[in-house]
């Protein structure tokens, strides 16, 4: 295969994908009478036009990255974690509990302690589907979906009961939320006038950590082996159930960390809706990033951009908020399909031989003429 053909093929496929994305979105946008081109331009460029936009994208990148890293560990170990929403909620509860219990600890102690607690909370919630799968053969797809609902209820229970903001009782209406957590828990917002906080560095640090864990240590090797081929791993002396549970706990723990950091960096108190669907977007980011930290970081940035940019459209182009989801959906569908097309040498070869045949015919004709 010539290099020129390869490049041309790639560019062609990508152009085609862009056109299809535009067309699919256009059908819906056209139906509701919105400006198609402008909508897309807003999504993809508007967030990058100023400091606030870029930092807001980075802000979303933090939980997306951390959750996607966790999902990667689970996925690589042979377990699909769609329970990150619930694990994140449990992490938030644990962090909140610590912050409420020890408001006077200095930041240097409290922050690691609270994040660790968040990790433990998430890991505990991740342990359940891990254990159920490893020991009782309960599909994690079932248990994690169900556990998300259970976690959501537990979350309101705690925020409405033991952790409720006292001010809500005296001056409010009992909206389920905790009080403003101690300032000692606040992660530094290092660019004035924006919300971007030091959790970004934690996320990057965790990405390095996961890379080392999965590809440079024997633990990671065993987890990946268990995920890639359970039988072979068992044959190789790897305790598959054990690593399955550990992987799921790491995965849950990371979701928990993401929750902690959201609280400490963005919201400063536990409120409803913090999980924001990150648990699901995290799966997309993980897979999109090729289940590898090096891919997850850019993928998380891209999805942060997508989420934030699509959210801006309702204000700048006037499309309904639901359109955010439509566009995200389309972009995901087209991108995954495109990735597979690009990665399919068989298809590329077929196209090339078609082209070759056409070229041959043409040169034949020329010769005859």
């Amino acid at each position: 295969m010539t290099k020129r053909f390869k490049t041309g093929y790639r560019i062609g496929v990508i152009l085609l994908a862009i056109i299809i994305t535009m067309l699919l979105g256009a059908v819906i946008l056209w139906a509701i009478g919105a400006d198609v081109f402008k909508t897309y331009m807003v999504i993809l460029t508007e967030p990058l036009k100023n400091k606030i936009g870029v930092t807001e994208v980075l802000l979303r990148m933090v939980p997306l990255t951390i959750i996607a890293l966790g999902i990667t560990v689970a996925y690589r170990s042979g377990i699909i974690n769609i329970g990150a929403e619930g694990q994140m909620a449990m992490g938030i509860l644990a962090t909140t509990a610590i912050a409420l219990a020890f408001p006077n600890l200095p930041s240097g102690v409290l922050i690691p302690f609270a994040i660790l607690a968040g990790m433990v909370g998430g890991a505990a919630w991740g342990f359940i589907p891990g254990f159920l799968k490893a020991k009782l053969e309960v599909s994690e797809l079932l248990s994690t979906v169900m556990l998300n609902y259970i976690a959501a209820q537990l979350y309101t229970f705690f925020l409405r009961g033991p952790m409720l903001d006292p001010a809500e009782l005296t001056m409010g209406s009992g909206t389920p939320q905790s009080m403003r957590l101690t300032r000692n828990l606040d992660l530094t917002r290092f660019i004035p006038g924006t919300r971007i906080h030091s959790g970004l560095f934690i996320a990057i640090g965790l990405a390095v950590l996961i890379f080392l864990l999965l590809w440079k240590t024997s633990y990671g090797y065993k987890m990946r082996a268990a995920g890639a081929s359970e039988r072979a791993a068992r044959y190789g002396g790897i305790n598959v159930p054990k690593y399955l549970i550990i992987a799921m706990m790491i995965s849950g723990g990371f979701a928990g960390i993401a929750g902690s950091i959201e609280i400490a960096g963005v919201h400063r108190r536990a409120i409803e809706g913090v999980t924001s669907g990150y648990g699901f977007s995290g799966i997309v980011v993980a897979l999109f990033g090729g289940l590898h930290p090096a891919g997850i970081l850019p993928a998380a940035f891209f999805f942060g951009l997508l989420i934030y940019g699509a959210d801006m459209t309702q204000r700048l182009v006037g499309v309904p908020a639901n359109m955010v989801q439509v566009l995200q959906g389309i972009i995901i569908l087209v991108i995954v399909a495109t990735k597979m097309v690009l990665a399919n040498p068989y298809l590329m070869q077929r196209v090339e031989s078609k082209f070759a045949a056409i070229a041959a015919k043409r040169s034949n004709l020329e010769v005859q003429a």
């Binding site: 809500e168 001056m171 409010g172 209406s173 108190r269 908020a321």
Partner: protein, 319 residues
């Protein structure tokens, strides 16, 4: 600053809501209030809203609005309290508002507090007096916020007129899952409930389930006036609404007077924050005794400054 001077009589309002402007509940009430206030103050108000704002998105929206020179940014829900507090500190030149709360969180932040137990109480009176089975259904979303106040007021209303009545309280666990609310209503009706109520947008599901009993003596008392107007209205006996236009008008007045925050705006019958109405189409169901009782309570709410003597919502415990 010069620019600001030029269009000083136009107030730019930005609204951040968790649901949509047409959710027939909490968010729509505010949206309708703002649009009504715009009509009442022609040319005075410019308005933009952001729907379906999760907590993190709400922050982005505030930053964006702040950059665009909005004068008042409203976070419609107590969950935005922290965000508003922080942003108010960051942007001292802009006014902010949030509710439900009576907390004062900054010199440039208004809070507003619908005392919904009043509306619940009125509906409770009707339910308590009208029930034949002495079983009343109450469909709660989550036991918190505005809904918690409404629901508890309702229970107090029932108890005030009918100590034998049993209020079945059930929560769906979600503000928006009206399918579950339907299921709750069906369950309560099967268990004998003949008057039902509920709050937040999920409550519509409850009304919808009641509406299926077209020819039965099963009725709905609503928390939103809009419910009277919809096809299922034939089942609604009464409803009340928030009059957010009054809140907005107050805000506009205060801004004009140079007050940029630091105050709480309560909402109750006393200050016309609520409107209560019987449904004319079903008025035949309302006996004079009921009407008298309701009017008596209404007068009490309107007359007195402190309604707490009538309804102390936080005294009600059902779980």
């Amino acid at each position: 600053a010069a620019e600001k001077e030029a269009d000083s009589d136009v107030i730019k309002i930005a609204l951040i809501i968790e649901n949509t402007i047409d959710d027939k509940g909490w968010c729509q009430a505010m949206h309708d209030g703002i649009t009504l206030a715009m009509e009442q103050n022609p040319g005075r108000i410019e308005y933009s809203y952001s729907e379906k704002m999760k907590p993190v998105d709400a922050g982005s929206a505030v930053l964006q609005y702040a950059g665009q020179g909005y004068d008042i940014i409203i976070g419609h829900g107590a969950q935005y309290k922290n965000l508003i507090t922080e942003m108010a500190a960051e942007y001292p030149d802009i006014s902010f508002a949030f509710g439900t709360s009576s907390e004062i969180v900054g010199p440039n932040v208004f809070s507003y507090m619908p005392e919904s137990e009043e509306t619940g109480y009125l509906n409770g009176l009707i339910a308590g007096m009208l029930t034949k089975t002495n079983t009343i259904g109450l469909i709660g979303p989550v036991d918190g916020g505005d809904a918690a106040r409404y629901n508890r007021g309702f229970v107090l209303g029932v108890k005030a007129v009918n100590s034998a009545a049993n209020v079945m309280v059930a929560h769906t666990g979600s503000f928006s899952d009206f399918v579950k609310a339907t299921e709750v209503a069906q369950s309560q009706i099967r268990s004998g409930a003949d008057i039902l109520t509920g709050s937040s947008q999920q409550a519509l599901g409850g009304l919808r389930a009641v509406a299926d009993y077209r020819d039965k003596d099963i009725w709905w008392v609503g928390q939103d006036l809009a419910q009277i107007g919809i096809p299922e209205g034939y089942k609604v006996l009464s409803a009340s609404s928030y009059n957010y236009a009054a809140v907005i008008n107050t805000l506009v007045k205060k801004m004009d007077a140079g007050i940029v925050g630091g105050e709480n705006i309560p909402m109750n019958f006393n200050n016309d924050g609520f409107v209560f109405k019987f449904n004319e189409a079903t008025k035949s169901k309302i006996t004079p005794a009921i009407e008298a009782k309701v009017n008596e309570a209404l007068a009490a709410f309107k007359g007195q400054a402190g309604h707490a003597s009538v309804v102390n919502w936080s005294s009600v415990k059902y779980n």
